[in-house]
């Protein structure tokens, strides 16, 4: 498996929200999507994924319902709520600010 980069605290939520922007996915799909979007660099450990999903659900940022997966199995699907969309925009802005700041520091030396 590819190198793993530990996810910064708080970035997991951002990644999940971003992944769900395209449409609803089940937990396994989210982790797979993150892995492939990041070219196998970012790997969400499943153990943090589900708690994060439940937390987001509790905060009404995402919504969940049971459906049937493409493999024909019962699975739980998550989708963004309006609140989640707002949060995604906000998080994305703050992440960019943060990443830009880091980049500036790194260039500075």
């Amino acid at each position: 498996m590819a190198t793993r980069t530990d996810l910064l605290q708080g970035t997991l939520d951002l990644l999940i929200l971003r992944t769900l922007r395209a449409g609803e996915l089940h937990g396994w799909g989210i982790s797979k999507r993150v892995r492939s979007l990041s070219n196998d660099v970012l790997q969400i450990s499943q153990g943090s994924l589900y708690p994060a999903l439940y937390r987001l659900e509790d905060r009404r940022l995402i919504d969940a319902s049971w459906g049937i997966s493409t493999e024909g199995r019962k699975a739980k699907f998550y989708r963004l709520t309006d609140l989640g969309r707002e949060a995604l925009a906000q998080e994305r802005a703050s992440w960019r600010a943060f990443a830009g700041a880091i980049e500036a520091v790194l260039k500075g030396t």
């Binding site: 937990g27 396994w28 499943q46 153990g47 589900y50 659900e57 509790d58 493999e71 199995r73 019962k74």
Partner: protein, 877 residues
């Protein structure tokens, strides 16, 4: 399963969560398989991957959100669900705990009410009871004389107040046709209620000066007398009643809970006083030889106890150097609280220790149960750990479960405890001190909850140790319970064995003491004896001959009743502790040295009538007993002494006809009788002598009647005969001598029964523990034993093989228990009679009992081992 974070606002169906997890793991495994990983390996990796990180995230989450309360709620819910799945276990645990906690709570409530709670008086830690220490005549706590009380008031400035108390009985009513009633009465100094710091709830206490001679007579009465005799009629306050034939005004009524009993055992306190009157004697004018007053003193609030005691001992020295001629006189101060509980303390402490031991045995038993349950659920726990639940998480869940159980047990225990406390109080001897104050209170409930929490933790700890110490891989591999669990369990059973041995030893020693006491020859024959306490009215019968004649008439009337075989009277029947103390000198004794302190002996003295010894079955060893010829003070200058006196002063057995100087009067010895136990069955007590009633015309006497049939059934006949002589005659109490004997053993019986019940319960639990251990060994070794049997091992060999370990365990428990008994021996020594705390016979007998029970408990499952069918055993896993 509740191992995932879940918000309470939207509780998720946990099965759905599991399903989601399973889906994920399946997908992961399928993907791995697609990459060419073999199916089993793919599954394992997917599972491990999931679990390994799971633990990390859980901890991270725990740190991020301080939601222990939330966790707690979830854990409790989880515990309830998992318990609901095994209701049998839950019920057994809760019931066992409830019973043990009920025992614990009720015993503690009694102990707390009696031993530890503040007395219901103002600043009770400053109340002292004072005695005269007259060590040179062997009396360390004698009553105090009047002049000494006066001197205490004058000289000890650290005392805020000093009150004299003299207890006795009085007749209330009578004369005017109202029914006369015999009541217990104390005459006290007017400042008594101020010194005590408690007083009437209706009316007023005594005013200063109301104890001066010639003042109108006033009384404060008990709540009981107020409601029973006066119907609680407030108008009675301020009205005169006849007390001992003299008009006395009731000025106050005490609260129902008021109690003042400066000495008490579990079995008897000084009877609750019904009437307090003022003591009108001029203390200074009382005799310096008359040690008759109880003294209650209150130390001033602005003075340290040390200063007060210093002042007191200075006065002791002055008195010793003066009147007491340096014989070593001292005042003996005792804290009232200490004095009140002195006789009870050892019994209560022993009971507390016994119930605590039972509680520990129960806890160990419950821990074993939890352990077994843990072993059964090992698979579940292992999986939960495999998928990442952290050790602390699993531990917390197990602990939550046991805590839920133990708190449920505590709740049931408190309910049961208040019931059993009521039952306990109803079987407790009537004289139990501070009875009114005993109840399940905050302290008892706090203790119960604390005990429950400790038990819950202890219960949970064993399976936690077992589950967390094991690594997951080996746990997944084997099914049977682990070595560590086995060791914890063995340690628990060993602790049980030790404690049970101690409890049994305690019971054995108490039982031995009790049996010995039952065999004590009290010096009289208590069967078929009725006692009736009567008092000659002061108004009708002035002192002297009229009183003697009244009793002579009463006894004659009683003798005429069919079925009454013998009738007599005394002021101090056996076991009543009712005698007076007199100094006696025998001028004709060959053992006299000329030293007054050596030759003069303080003895118990009591007036008796003719036929006394025959009625009570007291053996006359020499001479004869009193007869009708001693009918007036002139003809009755005779005395009967006991064998203790006879042997000490007349070793040549020539006491009859000798002279005894009793308090200065010379009396002729006409008989020697067997010594009678006058205090209780345990103490031999002082030497005794008996004087003719005609010589010492006491007005308060116990009539003793030997009856042909059941004595209590003849009580009415006795009452009728007495009222036939004088219809106004007050009768204080009727009882049987056998009841008196029983009452004197009441505290001992109560302690014995309770400790015995605790010990039996403990033994039962130990038997279960040993049984369980052996059964477990057999279960674990089924395969091995099967092979042994298949290879031709004989039954006995297999049984011995299996029994080896439980036997070593029991032996270790016995040895530890014996050591414990030796160490704790001092605790029970004061409760023992005629047995040492290390009595080898008792300890051996108890060891045999415990060993026997353990052998049976381990033999049963061991025998099963030999019935193992080798074929089945070999197949079993």
């Amino acid at each position: 399963m509740g191992f995932l974070r879940r918000d309470d606002a939207r509780a998720r169906d946990e099965r759905a969560m599991t399903e989601e997890m399973r889906f994920h793991v399946d997908m992961e495994a399928a993907e791995l398989e697609r990459f060419g990983v073999p199916r089993d390996e793919a599954r394992r990796r997917a599972l491990a991957n999931f679990g390994g990180v799971r633990r990390f995230t859980e901890e991270a989450q725990d740190a991020r959100r301080i939601m222990w309360l939330d966790d707690l709620r979830r854990d409790v819910r989880y515990a309830l669900r998992s318990l609901a799945r095994s209701p049998g276990y839950a019920i057994i645990v809760v019931l066992t705990l409830a019973l043990a906690i009920a025992a614990n709570t009720s015993i503690f409530s009694v102990a707390n009410g009696i031993l530890f709670k503040r007395l219901p008086y103002r600043d009770p830690s400053r109340l002292l009871v004072l005695w005269d220490g007259l060590d040179w005549i062997g009396v360390s706590e004698a009553w105090v004389t009047g002049p000494e009380v006066a001197q205490l008031r004058r000289d000890v400035t650290s005392f805020e107040g000093v009150s004299a108390v003299r207890s006795g009985t009085a007749t209330i009513g009578g004369e005017l046709g109202a029914d006369p009633q015999q009541v217990s009465q104390s005459s006290v100094s007017a400042n008594f209620f101020q010194v005590l710091g408690a007083g009437p709830e209706l009316g007023r206490p005594f005013n200063g000066g109301e104890d001066a001679p010639g003042m109108p007579r006033v009384a404060v009465i008990s709540h009981r007398l107020f409601t029973q005799r006066f119907g609680g009629d407030h108008a009675q306050i301020g009205r005169p009643v006849l007390i001992d034939g003299r008009p006395t005004t009731i000025v106050g009524v005490l609260p129902a809970a008021f109690q003042f009993a400066p000495q008490a055992s579990l079995a008897s306190s000084m009877a609750d006083v019904d009437v307090y009157t003022t003591m009108t004697d001029t203390l200074d004018r009382m005799s310096v030889d008359n040690h008759s007053l109880g003294v209650l003193a209150r130390v001033r609030g602005d003075v340290t106890m040390g200063t007060a005691l210093g002042e007191l001992s200075a006065l002791s020295k002055r008195l010793d150097g003066g009147l007491y001629l340096n014989k070593g006189f001292r005042f003996v101060p005792v804290l009232l609280q200490e004095r009140m509980v002195r006789e009870v303390r050892p019994a209560l402490l022993a009971l507390l220790a016994a119930v605590a031991m039972l509680m520990l045995i129960v806890s160990a038993n419950l821990a074993v149960l939890a352990l077994v349950r843990g072993a059964r659920r090992e698979h579940e726990l292992t999986i939960r750990r495999a998928i990442g639940a952290s050790q602390s998480r699993v531990a917390r869940q197990i602990l939550t479960e046991t805590l839920v159980l133990s708190l449920a047990g505590a709740a049931a225990g408190i309910v049961l405890g208040s019931l059993s406390l009521r039952a306990l109080l109803s079987i407790a001897p009537t004289g139990l001190p501070r009875r009114e104050e005993i109840g399940i209170d905050v302290a008892a409930i706090a203790l119960t909850v604390a005990v429950a929490i400790v038990v819950g933790l202890a219960m949970g700890l064993a399976p936690v140790l077992q589950s967390t110490r094991r690594d997951i891989v080996s746990a997944l591999r084997e099914k049977s319970s682990s070595r560590i669990g086995g060791r914890v369990r063995r340690a628990l059973v060993l602790a049980q064995l030790t404690l049970s041995m101690m409890l049994l030893a305690g019971t054995g020693l108490l039982l031995g003491s009790f049996a010995r006491l039952m065999r004590v020859d009290p010096g009289f024959n208590p069967s078929h004896v009725l006692t009736v306490d009567i008092m000659a009215s002061r108004a009708k019968y002035a002192t002297g001959q009229p009183v003697v004649d009244l009793f002579a008439r009463q006894l004659a009337a009683l003798r005429a009743v069919p079925g009454f075989l013998a009738v007599a009277a005394t002021s101090a029947p056996p076991l009543s502790a009712g005698a007076d103390q007199s100094g006696v000198v025998f001028p004709g004794s060959p053992t006299n040295t000329g030293n007054v302190d050596h030759d003069r002996l303080l003895v118990d003295a009591a007036p008796v009538t003719a036929d006394y010894f025959r009625t009570l079955g007291i053996t006359m060893l020499a001479g004869q007993e009193l007869d009708a010829s001693q009918h007036d003070s002139a003809s009755s200058r005779v005395v009967i002494i006991d064998d203790l006196l006879a042997e000490r002063f007349f070793p040549k057995r020539d006491a009859i006809g000798q002279i005894a100087m009793v308090d200065g009067d010379s009396l002729r010895i006409i008989g020697v009788a067997r010594h009678v136990r006058l205090y209780d069955l345990e103490q031999v007590g002082r030497a005794q002598l008996w004087l003719p009633h005609a010589y010492t015309p006491y007005r308060y006497m116990s009539v003793v009647i030997r009856t042909a049939g059941d004595p209590m059934s003849m009580a009415d006949a006795a009452r009728r005969a007495i009222h036939g002589v004088d219809p106004d005659q007050a009768i204080a109490a009727t009882s049987t001598m056998e009841d008196v004997v029983r009452r004197s053993l009441a505290q001992r019986r109560l302690v014995l029964i309770l400790v015995g019940v605790f010990a039996l319960a403990g033994l039962l639990l130990v038997a279960l523990g040993v049984y369980g251990i052996t059964a477990n060994i057999v279960a674990q070794r089924t395969r091995e034993l099967g092979i042994r049997m298949a290879l031709g091992a004989n039954r006995r060999g297999v049984i011995w093989n299996v029994l080896g370990e439980p036997t070593r365990l029991v032996a270790a428990g016995l040895v530890l228990g014996l050591c414990g008994t030796m160490l704790a021996g001092r605790l029970v020594q004061r409760l023992l009679y005629g047995v040492s705390a290390t009595d080898p016979v008792t300890l051996i007998a108890v060891s045999v009992v415990l060993l026997g029970v353990a052998v049976v408990a381990s033999y049963l499952p061991a025998r099963r081992a030999t019935r193992v069918d080798p074929v089945i055993a070999l197949r079993s896993d």
